[in-house]
Symmetry: D2
Subunit: 479 residues, 4 copies
């Protein structure tokens, strides 16, 4: 089954019956009907359906070289700048359909897997490395349009610089055994977003491994024996898209993944027990440029959505004449155009890597990933500052169908909106900037590519400053 | 009945049966048992009980000059710097008991009324002004320990600079009639926090009045005929103090107040129909210095609470060694010490006003009110940046009593906390910085004294810069 | 004489004998030997010489369509994206030769004139407009490689919003008479940078004209009768490139231009006495996109220079390990990559205008012009914070040839530099960030395209936000 | 000779004939007539004269307990809060006379010495410590009104965290020998401001000592054999107070001090060769609270001066109506009031230390010292943003006495100033914010108490956060 439809996805996920816990209860029955999941599952399904929309098919899919089937564009291994542009258009089409609010729309993980598989050459001939299995899994995922999540953060027990876990019972997931069938994993990983509502969970090391038992890469079905997904509190408050236009659609649950003696069969092990590879592969591969390219393409659409909200508020209550309002809005415009420019530059100066893949320019995208976490948090603040008291006095939908209607219609009207439409707009602004859902979005975007403090250090270290140092040194020796 | 107890308060509020609407339904039955209100009503009751706590009595009450009864210290009309310090200690005692989270602890409105009544002299001999009624109401409130709310913002319909409301049906509350019994009010006011759970609602103009019908000052019982309180959505999610340590206790509802032909009897009308007084009284009175003094005293305790939370997180996951963590924490320390210093200075340089009242220094406190909205928003951001992913992976209380307990105990422990205590701490941090409740707190503190942009302008205009200009001009003429 | 050499330029400027005043004295003798001008004139000459450098000729010049001569690339009227890239390369070549420190390298004004002439079509058929003269002057300037300055700011007498000059004696330059020979100008313009060391001064309105007598466009030789250039204090302190590596080379003087009954002959009048045109032409023309494209291309090289200086300091005293040093340096990297991306985007999405000229995208470049003034001021601060006390203890060159040499050699060495080279580096950093010359650079870059507050407002107004508003409105009507 | 006059000071300094080098030349002749020093020496002399001004005597001096003579108030060892206030008034009187621009007015070092001597008890009974000599020197300095400088920074050779100097020839000053007469010092110290124009140079360790040979405290006359003061470039450009109102008066030279086998006689050695004391004494003593109290008292006056300049510009060109101008000015007001409040709080909560000295509250003042470096740099930026192009077009004084006068008078007038006065004002603003002198001021204030990054860390570590952590922990255990 190549590029799937929404109902394919829902059927598959419902059939998984992964071990997912919300509060103190396991999910039983169809997970697509569970209040915490149904919104996001339906929104995800709607994205898959776009693959079958005639007017979008050419954007959303391409023909598999191996099967001749139409497969998802997000699996495309780009060989040219045009391919990169195709990939961006696909991502932005999906982002448009979800206002950039789904950090884990299918293209994200598809891109990650594509990037890793496209760099499988790196693993060739290295100890305990199985590049062919990684490629095979990529092809399998592509031809079956698998949904995936991943996880690479360890539990936050002690963040001191020189802390090493030292306990009999592993906390950070590690290999505790190997046998004929595969490797056995015990321990936890943090923050598999959408854990339990994807076909597979991909686990790999992103560096910083000190004990080689903590380093590995594999993929495994979400319902594998021994895997438990422990959800945070759901931020779905209700179904009403008037009251909760975002969480009712886009609440991507975060989970702690517990591996309780999980056996990973050998054909799903991509590498293990190799400290160097565990620390280097993610960086040597095209994981970073491609996942950044996908993420920033989406974040551009999200920024447009924010700009649309802010300008709608400005129009509604007629505050466009104020210089500080103009200045705040221009901050969003500046961020938007900057992100757009960085994406374009990353494509224009893209280069083929040693495995023949056209990589968007990593340092350009790293810059974007240093910018977005800061501006996105600021966007929330700007919405709050533009909306002001209007973000507080916003009754829920049912009030408009109660005896209060007359009061509300009169007192909550604005210059360009009747009361109900104005409240609807302000509830959207409120949910984005002032709800638990909205705050989690800030945190999600802020830590998407890691701790912002570390992102700046990484940029400093990886950026080639020598030509500019040389220029200065040359200048100093001029007479 | 002088300084009341918590149960006095609850009984009175339950008996009020004010016309309060939550979503599409009026509150019926005891409001103190309604989920949206019971937490805050109980917390408020606990504050009143402190007035009867033997070890605090001398801090929380003083002897009424008129009745010899013990009345609330927040009603004290200060005649000396010592009186100001007494007032601050009282406010901070109440704030300590509620971690500074109750913007509308009783002392706030008591202080407002005290300040207005202490400036009643301003109204003497002016047209349509009744200073003696204001003083009488103050004494009545003091001797009966009335709880109050107030409201002075108009609905946010059109915020253009040159917009004047021009409709047959008033939107902003105005006097539409006067008769033998009193004045008749029609229209709405925004954001009476705690509307419907106070004995009285005080309404007065804070300036910016263009039509004299919009200018007035009165107080009226919350259950007066024609008054409706329309609540925003409640941010109370549940009773568990583990899950929601703040909203379960401190959710101070905001309401739109509708005046539907409300008759204000003459003895409760303090002024009306006098454009100059409507625009000047609030500023000429000691309203600003005293309400700032109360608010900032409270905000200091809230800042200490934030500092405690941040340092607890740092200790828990052992991140105190990082320079950027130190820097962020020092930002909170700097804000805390700055606020403390400004309060002290406002007292040290306090002066008697023309009516014999010891006013804390207004410009010093205005500076504090320019600082706090900015730093408080930053505090939230700092908590998010310090807590990082730890603010996401926080299950609810019941999970710890489920089969998940073992997993959670193991994987969510931290250096200095077992898993349950650590999650409890992080849920507190989450609720303060990442919940709908927490975001409303930011907005509340941000707009407490008005639009921050306007606060800066007011400070600019009201601050006497002439001595410094003169110094520069003198310097320029030196040889 | 097409693309000129440095000596051509010097000879011409020396022959001009424009009326230039430094402090209280007119410049007499060769201006190219005057201490305040010789550095910048020599640096400018060196730029012209690059036009005759064989390896750069193809970058710096192109073949004139009218004369078949090699003329300066900065005069090229671009018809394609390739032409834009050629223009950028030319600008960056000149910027490289002067480290981006010459805001008025010849390409700046050549670009301005090219842009205005390329939009001459706008003037066609309008009252008192002479597009053919503008085109003729452009061709004349191109074929003779004229150097030019311009001026469009009025004296800063009273900046209130509703101030209109109302005096018998004009302050802002205006047309006070017209006669058979031309128009007569009286009054002043502010801040003709390099006034008096260019062949011509171009004067035109950039909008904001209320009295049509203040609106005009012309060009006139700098030595025209009645023109006086009044210099600010020179920031050239000495010739030593060790002590003053920047001001000894790049001090571009700013002047007030006084027009004392200056007759502008008709063939040099491009328009006058037309309020609409005076207010619209600059914006309707491609002045903004092209001058922004030139300026930002140069600012990129300047940013690289700053990055080189900062990294050289880091290497010299070995402070690269500090997280805050990394973070500050990464700010520069982020700015650099952002500017590069915006330039590229402006070219990638460039469009032909109605007169067949390929305009780089204006809004993209406006974003860059909103960013650079802020980051450039921040660069200075970063240099100061990175250099710290090392920017204070920097003796001058002669000290190294005095009995102090031994002390200096020993005590001022650094990890990777001997004392003299280290001091040389730090003097460069000091002059860029802590001298009068450096501070003037900040102000120059900050106000290059106008008041930053207005730039943000202009961006807000000119940016098309409707598609995003529409998207939000559509989303709100979805079920 | 107790409290001296200006001429006493000048005579003494001229007689010193210290070994001071400017550029490549030693100062010969009277240093008070040397262009680089005469302005600041005269300004310093004017401060001393205030001690003999009848109306200020009681503020500037007090009666010595040992001699009954009038000695400088800055030597007062405070025993009460009143004494602290006396000290502040003295500092602010001197600061008023010099607009807070003299970081090294006599009270600074007098205060430092007073603080060290007042903590001499700490040295009692410790190895190689001589508290009685420190006290004796303090008394000698007080009774003779010695002027002093000090120095405690090592040369900036390699700032890596784990760098230790390891060379045969010491770079950082150290004890290389001891003999019957005293200790012998070789090496350099950075940035003795005013080095060579003070009677004495006080040298002591401020912590961070790894080799005990680098730790010591002594004072020695500036003309002691083997001491060389190597000046940075002078920022005095000329005598005209119109052109250079600040540098002509307040240029406090910075010097590198070279100790070339300098013998410190035993009676001037306060401690040496004691690692613990070298690292602890400065912090254990009242050095920090008293020097902060002096510095911040002065910085308050400097802030007032900045506010005066900014408001003068606003008035001059009539821009007070702009919201962003108001906002920027209010930033200065907020800083000013904050500093004033912190000083007052430091006095109000002052406590007697173990040696009976009334110490102003250190943590309160540390907060101020974290704030001022940031706001002072911002002040410069605000002046630049308020003054805009007006800071560029400012001719020098002589131009007003040249044929240009008529032009200047006409074109440089402003709303409230004639041209000459307006230029005078703008030149002051320019010199403060845009000259080499002004930039050095920023750096001086920024690093006055050390690297701002470290100041934040120190505040974090030294601030007692436990009560707030406890409050949070208690709250979490409440039901």
């Amino acid at each position: 089954m190549p590029a799937i439809s929404g109902s394919d996805y829902i059927t598959r996920i419902d059939n998984l019956k992964a071990n997912v816990w919300v509060d103190d209860k396991p999910v039983t029955g169809k997970i697509s009907e569970h209040p915490a999941f149904k919104g996001v599952i339906n929104s995800q399904a709607a994205l898959y359906d776009l693959q079958h929309n005639d007017s979008l098919k050419s954007i959303m899919t391409y023909t598999s070289e191996t099967t001749g089937q139409k497969v998802g564009m997000s699996f495309l291994q780009p060989k040219s700048i045009d391919d990169l542009i195709k990939r961006r258009k696909m991502t932005q089409e999906w982002a448009l359909a979800s206002n950039g609010m789904m950090g884990r729309s299918p293209d994200y993980m598809n891109t990650v897997l594509m990037a890793l598989a496209s760099s499988a050459g790196y693993l060739k001939g290295k100890e305990n490395c199985y590049p062919e299995r990684l490629v095979a899994f990529y092809e399998y995922a592509r031809e079956n349009d698998l949904s995936m999540t991943h996880s690479f953060v360890n539990p936050q027990v002690n963040r001191a610089q020189f802390y090493f876990e030292d306990s009999d019972e592993p906390i950070a997931a590690k290999v505790i055994d190997t046998n004929d069938e595969g490797i056995v994993i015990k321990g936890a990983r943090l923050l598999a977003t959408r854990g339990g509502i994807t076909d597979e969970i991909v686990v790999f090391s992103a560096g910083g491994i000190q004990d080689k038992a903590n380093g590995f890469a594999f993929s495994i079905p979400s319902n594998e024996k021994g895997i438990r997904f422990i959800c945070r509190e759901s931020f779905v408050i209700g179904d009403s898209t008037f009251n909760y236009p975002l969480s009712s659609r886009y609440e991507e649950m975060d989970t702690i993944v517990v591996f309780d003696h999980v056996l990973i069969p050998w054909e799903r092990v991509f590498y293990y027990n190799n400290l160097l590879v565990s620390n280097e592969f993610a960086m040597a591969s095209s994981f970073l440029p491609f996942s950044l390219h996908q993420a920033i393409s989406r974040q551009i659409i999200k920024t447009e959505f924010v700009l649309g909200i802010v300008q709608s508020i400005i129009d509604s209550i007629n505050i466009g004449e104020y210089q500080h309002v103009q200045e705040k809005t221009s901050e969003i415009i500046i961020a938007l155009e900057t992100l757009k420019a960085l994406i374009i530059k990353s494509e224009v100066v893209a280069k083929l890597d040693e495995w023949g893949i056209m990589r968007p320019d990593q340092k350009t995208l790293q810059v974007a990933s240093n910018i977005f976490p800061k501006v996105y948090a600021r966007f929330n603040e700007i919405i709050q500052l533009i909306g002001a008291s209007g973000l507080i006095s916003i009754p829920t939908e049912s009030a408009f169908e109660s005896p209060l209607k007359k009061d509300l219609d009169h007192y909550l009207q604005s210059k360009s909106d009747d009361a109900k439409n104005r409240v609807k707009l302000f509830r959207l602004a409120w949910e984005l900037s002032m709800s638990a859902f909205g705050a989690r979005e800030v945190q999600y975007e802020r830590y998407f590519f890691g701790d912002p403090v570390k992102l700046a250090s990484q940029l400093y270290y990886s950026y080639d400053k020598t030509p500019y140092v040389k220029r200065v040194r040359d200048f100093l020796t001029e007479e």
